[in-house]
Structure formats: structure tokens, C-alpha cells
């Protein structure tokens, strides 16, 4: 397997990966190391994992991180209500060993990921949102791929999941975590790549309009915006225009302005991109 295999494999799933990213994924798969993806929101970090899982034909297990995420939510938890019911039902003959068997174990994403018959893709999304304590715990799991449950003993990984972590810089990640992972920075795609993404996702789209859409979004990213439109927004925009039956971007200012709702998500950004600005950008893109 080479980086090109990865690249063509992903593009068969509708994901256009840059050579840098393809190489990072290739190494992550070959060396069995987790891959840390950083980049602005909406450049397709999460989508990589989805495409990878589809290409490999395996499950995608996703752990969305948030502040306050703890071991009980991420790794495992005992099913207490069920244990309690069992105790009541069995009366005096309660069998403690059975109470702490796997029947009463609730698997959370991390435990589930290491106990699959086929190695899944484990996506740990927005790791920078989780607390530092959790990061430390994650490090332990990522290095040993084993989880110790006091009542059951150590559960070793039956298969090693392919781990992808994403972050978009809400907090500085620890050096330890960065060092354990391979790294790739995902940028907004250039015009050519973005055009390929668009034609892959919307093959029916008029070729001239596709060029206009990409040119428009590319120049929009150069404006002083609070929230730059990502690839997902670009695809929404294209879908919206296709749905509205637009054939030329600069034809109807009112429709373009309405469709901007898919690209600009804050009040101040809407205010900056007035009809005139939008027309100027659309004119340049044409």
C-alpha cells in the first residue's frame, strides 16, 4: 500500500485528500499510530474518518468530546439499575460474581472500539474540547490499547482500531499527546482541489456554475470574515443554487444574497458581504 492507494481509495468514497494528508493516513495505517488532524472548522477533518471507514468497509466509532466528558461516558460504566434489579430478583441468592459480568457492562465508545472483531475506525472528535484529565487517560489507552476494569480485569484489544483525532485549536493540546500521534494540518483546499470535491459530490452540476461557485467561495475566504465558509458550507451553497435552478451566479443578486445564508453564519459577516460585495465577488468568479 502506498499513499496513492489511500488517495484513490478515499476518492472512490467521494473524499479528495491532499497528498500530505494521504501520506499521513498511509503512515498512520502502516505504523498503527493515531493521527492528529488540525485545521479550521469545516475543512473536512471529520469526513476523513467517515471516508476511511467506508473505504475499509469497517465500522466508524465516534467519540464526540465535550467539556466534562469523563471515563464513565467514554470508556465503560456498570449498568447499575439493572444490577439493582438483579439483586432484588435473586433475593438472598445474589451472585456477586455474576453481577459484575459483561451482561451488566455498558460499553462506551473507547471500550467498544477495542473489542470489535474487525478493526474499526475510531474517531475522537474535537479532542481539544475535553478536559486535560481526559486527555491524559486517553494517552494511556492509545499507547496500550488495553482497559482495566477492576471487577473484570484487563481487557486487551482484540483488534487495533485506526485512531483519528481532530482538533481545531480551542485549547492547546499537551505535548505528550502531540508526540504520540502523527500529525497533519488540513487547510482550506485550493481552487483546483475544491473544484474536484464539488464535481465529485455533485456530478450533475453545470460545469460553468461549479467553477463560479468555487471561485466565489475562494474569494469569500479572502474577505475579513469572522467565520470563513468551509467545504461543507460550499457544498450546501452549491446544493442550494442547484435547488433554486440558478445557472449563472451573477444573474440574480436577490437569489445569490438569499443563498448566502448557507455560507455566512454570523450577523456581522452577513452585514460585511452586502449585495454589492457579493456581486463584485461573483463577477470576479465568472
Amino acid at each position: 500500500m502506498t499513499a496513492e492507494t489511500v488517495q484513490s481509495g478515499l476518492s472512490a468514497q467521494g473524499y479528495v485528500a491532499s497528498p500530505d494528508l494521504a501520506m499521513a493516513l498511509h503512515l498512520a495505517l502502516t505504523l498503527g499510530r493515531p493521527l492528529l488532524l488540525e485545521g479550521a472548522a469545516g475543512v473536512g477533518k471529520t469526513e476523513v474518518a467517515r471516508a476511511l471507514a467506508a473505504w475499509k468497509g469497517c465500522d466508524l466509532i465516534r467519540l464526540q468530546c465535550y467539556e466534562g466528558l469523563d471515563a464513565a461516558q467514554a470508556i465503560y460504566e456498570w449498568n447499575y439499575p439493572r444490577q439493582l434489579l438483579a439483586i432484588r430478583a435473586q433475593g438472598d441468592h445474589a451472585d456477586e460474581a455474576r453481577l459484575f459480568s459483561e451482561t451488566y457492562l455498558l460499553e462506551r465508545p473507547l471500550l467498544r472500539a477495542i473489542r470489535q472483531p474487525v478493526a474499526p475506525v475510531l474517531l475522537i472528535d474535537e479532542i481539544d474540547r475535553a478536559d486535560e484529565e481526559f486527555e491524559a487517560y486517553l494517552l494511556e489507552i492509545l499507547s496500550d490499547f488495553a482497559i482495566t476494569i477492576p471487577e473484570l480485569g484487563t481487557l486487551r484489544a482484540t483488534t487495533r482500531p485506526m485512531v483519528i483525532l481532530t482538533a481545531n485549536g480551542t485549547r492547546d493540546l499537551s505535548d505528550a499527546l502531540r508526540r504520540r500521534c502523527l500529525y497533519a494540518h488540513v487547510d482550506y483546499p485550493d481552487t483546483e482541489t475544491e473544484l474536484r470535491i464539488l464535481t465529485t459530490r455533485h456530478p450533475a452540476l453545470n460545469h460553468q456554475l461549479a467553477g463560479q461557485i468555487v471561485g466565489f467561495v475562494q474569494s469569500l475566504r479572502k474577505e475579513e470574515l469572522e467565520k470563513k465558509p468551509g467545504v461543507a458550507e460550499m457544498l450546501d451553497f452549491a446544493a442550494a443554487l442547484a435547488g433554486l435552478g440558478v445557472a449563472d451566479l451573477s444573474a440574480d443578486p436577490a437569489i445569490l444574497q438569499a443563498a448566502l445564508a448557507t455560507l455566512l453564519k454570523t450577523q456581522s459577516d452577513r452585514a460585511i458581504i452586502t449585495t454589492e460585495v457579493a456581486q463584485r465577488l461573483a463577477g470576479k468568479a465568472a
Partner: protein
């Protein structure tokens, strides 16, 4: 296009040594790499077909750990593998680019040994003009390239450290959302209660509780070191140095006409060397101030990864901006959207009849959680009670 492939000496020990040499080269350029990375790099190269863009990409993915590394990997790679026989390629970034503060400086700044440029600038002055003009030029240059060690003494830092430690303690936050098991607490911990009930025959006699633990706030301190703030530089810089030593999570910035992050420089174990390093970083110390632009820069770059809802942004400045004040308002508004609390400590506020009439200060007021006077270390220490109330 890039230069030719480097010609290694004939007695070169082979590819393994070259790779080790490259890792050392990266380390010298501020990359944080250990021995484990060298091993991974070897394994990665074994998994590629050793053609040019392939190896570059493979090593990039292994050796980079952050967006900054990612951005400057290519020139560093070229300077080692493609220097075309030259000892040092032009593509190499100089070891201390002035704008990039912390990481690059780490490897190199300590070699500075405190010789500031004042003798040089005197010579420049002599060469250019004579008489009155020379005197003025020298004086200004001296002011601009001030050695911070003249301003702050080690005793100051020790004193400031205790003040900073106490302030940090006052800023304990009680709003952590994550609950921890505790002897007393507002919520019942179902998991531990049930677990404990096993020993009492399934009857939950002993209620276990959880509570939300105290979480310290992180402090990000921005100190104005422009000309108008010169008289207060001593306590503020000492405070900054003390804060860095007392609180491992704190963050420090200096600004005048631009903003530099000095966190890692100030963490240096030797307080003298720390000051020496920020002297090198803070070129332009004592010059004009562009508070609005500096804050704007902070809000759009550093704040994105270092400021969150549990951060207190502490600005120490007199609010005299050479640009229109509206910019300050916009920057602070943007900053406050990150959910942080903003304190502005103004040395002038302690004066009788002071009113925040400076345009910048007036624009900032609506965004501040606390606007307090602070001109000396004692003033800073007295803030303890105010901060506890935040």
C-alpha cells in the same frame, strides 16, 4: 525551485546518521522531538518508496506536532537535504525571527548573554551625524533597546512571585461542570451509592455524594511596555515574571506597537536569563503604543487557543493609544465573546480626579469586568479581595 540535493561528505556514516542529523537539525530549529520520533521516522521511511515528495511528506507527518511546525517544516527540510552543497541555504529562516516569539527563541536566546545593542547604536549615531542630533538619536535608541534587567531586580521577582501566587489562589473558580466524588456535595453519586449498598444488602443506607470541584482560572496577562508606561514597568514586569513562576498555566504577553508572547521565555528557571530573553523579544520597548492593534492581534490569534471561559485576561496599561480608540472596543468585544473575564489595571486610576477620558479607555470600559488602579506591587497585592469576588 529548491536547491540541489545536499552532497554529504564521503566519510559520512550512511543514511541512518543522516536521518539522526536531520532530527538534530529539527531540534535546533525548535521542533520538540525525542528519540522515539527518530525511530518512528525510520519506520515511516521504510513504509515509503524513498522518492522526494514522499519522504518529505512522511517526515513532515512524523516530525510536526502543531500548525506552526507544519508551516515551517518545508524550509527546514530544504536547508538540510537540499542545500546544494552550501553550508547554509538562503531558505533557512534565521534562528530568531522577531515576530515568532516563544519556540524559536527557546533554542537560541539564552546565548544572548545580555549584551544589548547600545554600543552599536552609539556607533551608528556617530557615523550618521554630529553634535546635537547625535545625542538625541543615542538617547532614543537607548530607550528603545532598554535592557530589562536594569528595570527589574531578582528581589522584585521573588516578591512578585508571592503576590502572584496569592492572586492566583484568589481566582479559584467554583463553576467546574465536571463532578467529582467528595465527602460532602450537592448531588448524590448514584454509582458509588449503589456500589456501597451492596455491603448493606442492597439497601442504599450510605449516600455517597459528588460535588463540582474548584477549578483555578487561567490568567493571561498582557503588559503594556510603551513609553508612557515606563515608570510602572518595574512592578509590572516583576509581577509578570512572578506570575509565570507561580502559576504553570498562566500566559504572558508584552505589547507596545506589536504584541509578543513571552510565556516560555519567562518560564526560564533563572530569573535573570528570563529577563534577558524577553529583552531580546521585546524590541521596541519604551516606544509608542498601539493598544487596539495589539489587542486585536491577540484576540484573533493567541486567544483562539489560549483563552476560554475559564480564563481571566488581565490587561496592564494606561490606555493611551496612538490610534483611534474604537479599535480597542472592537478587540475587547471579540475577546469577551470567548467567555473570558477581562480586567484592566490602570496605573493612572490611582490618581486623584482621574477619569477614563482617553478615547481608548472610554471605549474599553463597557467590556471590562473589573477596572482597578495598580501602580505598584502593593496595589496588585491589594487586588486579592476584588479578584475573589469575580
Amino acid at each position: 525551485m529548491r536547491g540541489q540535493v545536499t552532497r554529504f561528505a564521503a566519510r559520512d556514516a550512511g543514511p541512518l546518521a543522516r536521518l539522526a542529523g536531520f532530527m538534530a537539525h529539527l531540534r535546533a530549529n525548535g521542533f520538540r522531538l525525542g528519540i522515539a520520533e527518530t525511530e518512528t521516522a525510520l519506520a515511516a521511511l521504510a513504509a515509503t518508496d524513498c522518492s522526494e515528495p514522499e519522504t518529505r511528506r512522511a517526515l513532515k507527518s512524523v516530525c510536526c506536532g502543531s500548525a506552526e511546525d507544519w508551516a515551517r517544516f518545508d524550509p527546514v527540510f530544504d536547508s538540510y537535504w537540499r542545500n546544494g552543497g552550501r553550508v547554509r541555504s538562503k531558505a533557512v529562516p534565521s534562528n530568531t525571527p522577531p515576530a515568532k516569539a516563544t519556540r524559536e527563541a527557546e533554542g537560541t536566546a539564552s546565548g544572548g548573554s545580555g549584551k544589548t545593542d547600545s554600543p552599536d547604536s552609539t556607533k551608528d549615531g556617530e557615523a550618521d551625524t554630529g553634535g546635537e542630533g547625535r545625542l538625541i538619536a543615542t538617547r532614543i535608541a537607548n530607550l528603545r533597546r532598554r535592557d530589562l534587567r536594569e528595570v527589574v531586580s531578582a528581589d522584585d521577582i521573588r516578591l512578585a512571585e508571592t503576590v502572584a501566587r496569592r492572586l492566583g489562589a484568589a481566582l479559584r473558580d467554583r463553576r467546574s461542570r465536571r463532578a467529582k466524588a467528595a465527602a460532602k456535595g450537592a448531588r448524590i453519586d448514584l454509582r458509588r451509592t449503589l456500589r456501597a449498598s451492596l455491603s448493606t444488602g442492597g439497601e442504599p443506607f450510605r449516600l455517597k455524594r459528588r460535588r463540582q470541584p474548584d477549578r483555578p482560572l487561567r490568567i493571561a496577562a498582557l503588559v503594556d511596555v510603551s513609553g508612557s508606561m515606563q515608570p510602572y514597568a518595574r512592578p509590572f514586569l516583576a509581577f509578570l515574571a512572578g506570575l509565570m513562576r507561580a502559576d504553570p498555566a498562566a500566559d504572558a504577553y508584552l505589547f507596545h506597537t506589536r504584541l509578543v508572547r513571552v510565556t516560555e521565555a519567562l518560564r526560564d528557571e533563572d530569573p535573570f536569563r528570563a529577563l534577558n530573553r524577553i529583552t531580546l523579544l521585546a524590541d521596541g520597548f519604551g516606544g509608542g503604543s498601539r493598544i487596539g492593534a495589539a489587542l486585536q492581534h491577540f484576540a484573533t490569534t493567541h486567544a483562539r487557543s489560549h483563552v476560554d471561559g475559564r480564563t481571566v485576561v488581565m490587561i496592564l496599561s494606561d490606555g493611551y493609544d496612538s490610534a483611534p480608540g474604537t479599535e480597542i472596543g472592537i478587540a475587547l468585544d471579540r475577546l469577551s465573546k470567548r467567555g473570558c473575564r477581562i480586567l484592566w489595571l490602570n496605573p493612572l486610576k490611582g490618581w486623584r480626579d482621574y477619569a477614563p477620558v482617553a478615547a481608548g479607555m472610554a471605549a474599553a470600559l463597557p467590556h471590562l469586568d473589573l477596572f482597578a488602579p495598580a501602580a505598584t506591587l502593593d496595589d496588585l497585592a491589594a487586588l486579592e479581595t476584588e479578584l475573589a469576588r469575580l
